[in-house]
């Protein structure tokens, strides 16, 4: 095992290894503010409790594809997907913009062997790690509150990572076009409708003939993926959702590293 690792390790592309240096830096910074990350555990708890206490009592069951599902169990996975999106968007927009414009962090980084691609990879990796911590917290709450009915739910962690990847690469790409802090007003203008209309709070069938609009939202594919895993209704069509999120990630990453190169290497 260990010799196998040794044989594999040197083949890790230099780029990837170098980009982990930025993750190291983030860990250095966040070591001092670990409270913020830890207290993040409470947020899913509050949301889930509120759904269960409030809407669960008001709504009861909803019909999804012919079967009745407890409303809280229906919404909880969607909240998990949205949380993955929001965390990734926050980390890759506000945070990156600050480092890009105010802190000039990347100017420093670019005077070392690291290049723009490594910067993009490193920051996305860090957003993913934070997302991982957060979605684990979410999963723990889901299970503890009995709001899931299948062991497939364990796979929501990688699914959340995929959502995080898609939104942080895309968020980062968009951030490179931001002119000032004012432009950040537009981010909730994009994420709020997505949060509300990605089959989050009611089944896709309620949108009737507008369902195709919902399917345009990348979050919808994340919600569908996580909901299926949480309810244990796993089927082959889920590959489609994975592909959509994967494509968004790749496109976002390409744009982000290109744009970082033009912004930083002038």
């Amino acid at each position: 095992m260990s010799t196998g690792l040794l044989r594999i390790a040197p083949h890790i592309p230099l780029r990837v290894r170098r980009s982990t240096r930025l993750v190291e830096r983030s860990i250095m910074v966040y070591r001092r503010t670990w409270m913020i990350i830890v207290s993040g555990f409470f947020e899913p708890l509050f949301y889930l409790l509120s759904i269960r206490i409030g809407f669960g009592a008001l709504i009861g069951d909803v019909e999804v594809d012919g079967t009745l599902v407890d409303y809280a169990q229906f919404v909880a996975p969607a909240l998990m997907a949205s949380a993955a999106m929001n965390g990734a968007v926050y980390d890759s927009t506000m945070n990156i913009f600050h480092k890009l414009r105010n802190a000039k962090l990347y100017d420093t980084v670019l005077s070392t062997p690291l290049g723009p691609t490594e910067v993009a990879l490193g920051e996305i990796a860090w957003a993913l790690i934070r997302g991982l911590i957060y979605s684990t917290a979410f999963l723990v709450c889901l299970v503890a509150l009995g709001m899931t009915s299948s062991w497939w739910v364990v796979l929501t962690i990688p699914a959340c990572a995929l959502i995080g990847l898609a939104f942080s690469s895309f968020g980062m790409a968009i951030t490179t076009y931001m002119r000032g802090w004012n432009d950040f007003e537009f981010i909730p203008a994009a994420t709020l409708p997505m949060f509300l209309f990605s089959a989050t709070f009611y089944p896709l069938s309620s949108y009737g003939s507008y369902a195709w609009v919902v399917e345009l939202s990348p979050l919808y594919h994340g919600v569908a993926l996580i909901r299926a895993l949480s309810l244990g209704e796993v089927e082959w069509s889920m590959v489609g959702h994975v592909v959509v999120l994967g494509v968004v990630s790749v496109i976002g990453m390409r744009i982000a590293s290109r744009r970082l190169a033009t912004l930083l290497m002038t």
Partner: protein, 322 residues
């Protein structure tokens, strides 16, 4: 897996090959051409200077040498490598002190050095060792655990310089290293740079300060409006573009207007500055007598050896500290 991948100077070329060779470099920002066809060579182990007024294009040149800013045209070779394709390898062997400090505000003084070393793939233990030595080297040892923000401007400058040395660079680029330092700190820094040069580090620096250029540079180029207007050692430049001595006189404001024509009969090069008049001659005392014989009363006068400042004034028509 080897932790340390510090690139050792691959002796591909002979020891006399230039560290930096630039031919007809141009840099365009939109419609504005900041660097307009510049060629120069930096030899191994020397200290090379760019001297020029604000906006001359010094920083633009430095950024191109540091391989983060592609030249619009022209060819550049650093360590025999092309910065457009081998930027990463080049930067691995180079230390950079940018004009404005870009220290990591979220980290402590020591952490700034540690993480910078990590960017160069140094092991953690090695980073800690070097950070300690360098903090002593720039006299910041007692501030290791402090945040960066409360440091004074001069301390930040010294930390930036220490940071650039973390990777033990073969080539050190310093963009106005002593701007904002008090005279004492400046002399300390000069001393440190001397020691680096003794160790064989090649230095490239930009400056507005004549004394700095005279003190440190083996060779320098004077840059003005994106072009090189003179090149040589400090002594050479003084010899070629100035006289042996300079007479500085101050006169009453009422006389200033006509003074240039009044002095023309002396046949010397004259510069009328807002606060004083400079006369270039090989015998200052004699020139002062001549001035008085013309019936001009001076409020004060000074004869001094000519310096790079005079060269600069001659070549660019501007003083440095305007």
């Amino acid at each position: 897996m080897p932790e340390t991948v510090l690139t050792q100077p691959a002796e591909t070329a002979t020891a006399t090959a230039p560290v930096v060779a630039a031919v007809d470099i141009r840099k365009q920002f939109g419609a504005f051409e900041a660097v307009r066809g510049v060629s120069f060579e930096v030899r191994r182990g020397e200290c090379f200077g760019f001297l020029g007024p604000n906006g001359a294009g010094k920083s633009s040149l430095m950024r191109m040498v540091s391989s983060v800013s592609p030249a619009t045209s022209g060819t550049m070779s650093i360590f025999g490598l092309d910065p457009r394709t081998s930027g990463s390898q080049i930067r691995a062997r180079m230390g950079v002190v940018p004009q404005t400090d870009n220290l990591d505000q979220e980290l402590t003084v020591e952490e700034n050095l540690l993480i910078y070393g990590r960017y160069f793939d140094l092991s953690r233990a090695e980073c800690r060792r070097r950070a300690k030595d360098l903090l002593d080297f720039v006299q910041l040892g007692d501030r290791a655990q402090s945040r960066v923000e409360p440091l004074s401007g001069g301390m930040k400058r010294r930390l930036t310089i220490a940071r650039s040395l973390m990777s033990k660079p073969e080539l050190l680029l310093l963009d106005e290293p002593t701007t904002g330092l008090d005279p004492q700190a400046r002399h300390v820094l000069w001393d440190r740079l001397y020691r680096l040069k003794e160790q064989g580090v090649t230095l490239v620096l930009t400056t507005h300060y004549m004394d700095e250029a005279e003190q440190l540079c083996d060779r320098l180029v004077v840059v003005d409006r994106g072009q090189i207007v003179a090149e040589g050692s400090p002594a050479q430049l003084i010899r070629e573009h100035a006289t042996r001595e300079v007479l500085e006189i101050r006169v009453a404001a009422s006389v200033v207007a006509g003074i240039e024509s009044a002095l023309s009969s002396l046949g010397l090069r004259t510069e009328v500055l807002p606060d004083r008049v400079l006369l270039y001659s090989n015998n200052g005392e004699q020139t002062l007598k001549d001035v008085h014989e013309l019936g001009i009363t001076t409020l004060s006068s000074l004869v001094r050896r000519s310096s790079l400042e005079d060269v600069f004034l001659r070549l660019t028509g501007r003083t440095l500290n305007d």
